[in-house]
Symmetry: C2
Subunit: 173 residues, 2 copies
């Protein structure tokens, strides 16, 4: 990965996040990155290839975040770490994750599998904790945490800390 290649990716991420994928032209990306437009196509084949590179990075980062949860054996800790997950994302990464949410709707693709590792880890934890419907409980919590993540990134949640402690209490933690 050359220096200019990284600059292209960084500019594309920034602009796609700010304006949207379709609203951002390859020439804007090139200008922002300080490279010739042709270079984008040399490295990423076409505009969609550029998008895919960013999307792939998102999936990798997500799995990194999940790794800590999936490897935890104590079921109480699995639930705690899952709940805390959206709240530990630093503000500096909001732009990046905002793009991931945006693209979920902007381009058609199956995204449900991306949260599957989390749902499975939670289901197992809820089984161990003798919840009545562990699978449903896990699916519901995954969905809810996804929504909380979205609200945080959009800065539309009034009091994040309150929500976090409310949730921890709700799940007996």
């Amino acid at each position: 990965m050359t220096e200019k290649q990284e600059k292209i990716l960084k500019s594309a991420l920034e602009l796609f996040a700010k304006e949207g994928y379709h609203a951002t032209s390859t020439s804007k990306v090139a200008n922002n990155a300080g490279v010739s437009e042709g270079l984008i196509f040399r490295h990423f084949k076409n505009k969609e290839g550029l998008l895919m590179a960013i999307l792939k990075e998102g999936e990798n980062k997500l799995n990194e975040l999940f790794a800590d949860i999936v490897m935890e054996s104590d079921p109480q800790e699995v639930v705690r770490k899952a709940i805390e997950l959206p709240f530990i994302v630093p503000e500096s990464e909001y732009e990046f994750w905002g793009l991931q949410y945006k693209l979920k709707w902007e381009i058609e693709m199956d995204y449900s599998h991306k949260t599957e590792p989390l749902t499975m880890a939670l289901a197992l934890a809820f089984v161990k904790l003798n919840y009545e419907s562990p699978q449903q409980e896990a699916e519901f919590l995954t969905l809810s945490l996804d929504a909380i993540g979205a609200a945080l990134i959009k800065r539309s949640m009034a009091n994040a800390d309150k929500m976090k402690s409310f949730l921890l209490k709700k799940y007996g933690l």
Copy 2:
């Protein structure tokens, strides 16, 4: 609202939902509606005006859906109706609501106020039902139901009925 005006709105909704706002050109909308392109600009001023008309319609429809809940006095029924809300949306309206979700991310705007009537009704219900943190409970449920709606519209929820009865049980209904 003339016949052609309605055709334009219907076509725009359909195409914006399918391809996205930025990816849909005004000429495509005009062709799909069987109308000259200029007419779009006569009636809606510009492309964004067309979008705003659709967005306004979405907010109205949402308030219609909320009306039944807000007017309910029995707190148990408020919670039940809120939980059932995403599940009663007919499949024929999925395209319409999918666009509303999509636009939430595609154009920058404050959407949090749109679900506020629901949150307030739920908060009041949870107060009456002696929940410990009624406000948090209401915000959380609103957020979760929004996520469930999104999952339904994207057809990414394996078993909707199971999720519904799980939720009703969870809230003692």
